[in-house]
């Protein structure tokens, strides 16, 4: 039993790292919308739908450690990755704006915020979903061995 050993197992650490990334990103997203009052566009909302539950189910998977959490978490993470990828392409202009599904309300293509003058919010989302998907896939591979 992994959780019985005094020092946390490698698997636990991987899952914990994934949870930290997701939680930091979720809080960051809430900071943008609730503190900075930047209204989330519709594609941002779809990414939140994938992001927020991850922060909860990964935590449940940590105590006690349950590797099968990957089965539920990975589809969420990959779904978020796909939307974030699309959103990023849209924002940097690789997909023409006319193809954007959101024309009313908040624009999905206009960058409201740029970290260090470069990283837009969808890019940050893409980075986090990439890291978390990678960690979860690593966990899946090493536990199936």
């Amino acid at each position: 039993m992994n959780e019985a050993t005094p020092s946390p197992s490698r698997h636990w650490k991987i899952l914990f790292a994934a949870w930290l990334f997701v939680s930091a990103a979720s809080l960051g997203s809430l900071f943008f919308s609730e503190v900075m009052e930047l209204p989330p566009c519709s594609l941002c909302w779809v990414q939140r739908v994938f992001m927020f539950p991850l922060a909860i189910i990964l935590l449940i998977g940590l105590f006690p450690f349950d590797g099968s959490v990957v089965k539920y978490a990975l589809p969420l993470s990959l779904g978020g990755l796909a939307v974030a990828f699309y959103h990023t392409l849209l924002q940097v202009g690789l997909i023409p704006e006319t193809a954007a599904p959101c024309r009313q309300g908040v624009s999905c293509t206009e960058a409201q915020f740029e970290l260090f003058g470069f990283f837009s919010i969808p890019m940050l989302s893409l980075i986090v979903f990439s890291i978390v998907s990678t960690l979860l896939m690593a966990l899946k591979r090493s536990s199936s061995r």
Partner: protein
């Protein structure tokens, strides 16, 4: 280290960073809004703006409002109470920040009513009937006309005056000033140039009372 402790530490740190960042951000915003409002050529007050109270009052309460905003409606009663509590000491200046889609028409309507000397009557009618013409955040000007007519406003003249470019210029200037000052929500209050950051009736009353006590 036990896993529970590691997770508590990690989660706690994240929350701590969030709380500190929020506090820093809000402080920064307050400073910026205050600076924009206290510059010599401040766009906070305009000579044309509708005001209530003595011209020589030492405390000026500026309210950026949206006629279609529910909270502004509620606060209108509160503001009247505050003015009544401080007679001859506080002047209220009303500025438009019509953030609801189509609410700039209501602001124009108020300016047109003002030409008839019916500004406050029109404002009260608008607030009283707001649930009927502004439901689901979609203001419907045509519904307001009927209510205003019942309130003693000449609607034919009003509708003609609403096309007056001078009145449109007033509303547009207010919208531009709201943007310059960083007003993003309504109602946004400024007490002698200081923005009310922590929103609420008690906070507004405390800020106003403190300023009255300092000035008189």
């Amino acid at each position: 280290m036990k896993t529970q402790h590691i997770a508590l530490l990690g989660g706690g740190l994240l929350v701590l960073v969030f709380v500190i960042a929020t506090s820093l951000y809000n402080d920064q915003r307050e400073v910026e809004m205050g600076e924009a409002a206290s510059r010599p050529s401040s766009p906070l007050e305009r000579d044309y703006a509708q005001s209530l109270g003595p011209a020589d009052a030492k405390v000026v309460l500026v309210e950026f409002f949206d006629p279609a905003c529910e909270t502004c409606r509620v606060f209108y009663g509160h503001v009247k109470t505050l003015l009544a509590e401080n007679p001859d000491k506080v002047r209220l200046v009303l500025r438009y920040a019509p953030f609801h889609h189509g609410a700039d028409q209501m602001a124009l309507m108020l300016e047109a009513a003002r030409k008839q000397g019916k500004y406050w009557e029109a404002l009260e009618v608008m607030y009283q009937t707001q649930p009927q013409w502004a439901s689901h955040h979609r203001p419907q000007p045509e519904k307001v006309w009927a209510f205003l007519a019942a309130g003693g406003v000449n609607v034919d003249t009003l509708r003609r005056d609403m096309k007056n470019p001078d009145l449109m210029a007033i509303v547009n200037q207010d919208i531009a000033d709201a943007k310059t000052l960083g007003v993003s929500k309504t109602p946004q209050f400024f007490v002698n140039g200081k923005p009310l950051m922590s929103f609420g009736y008690r906070q507004l009353k405390a800020m106003l009372d403190a300023e009255v006590a300092a000035q008189y």
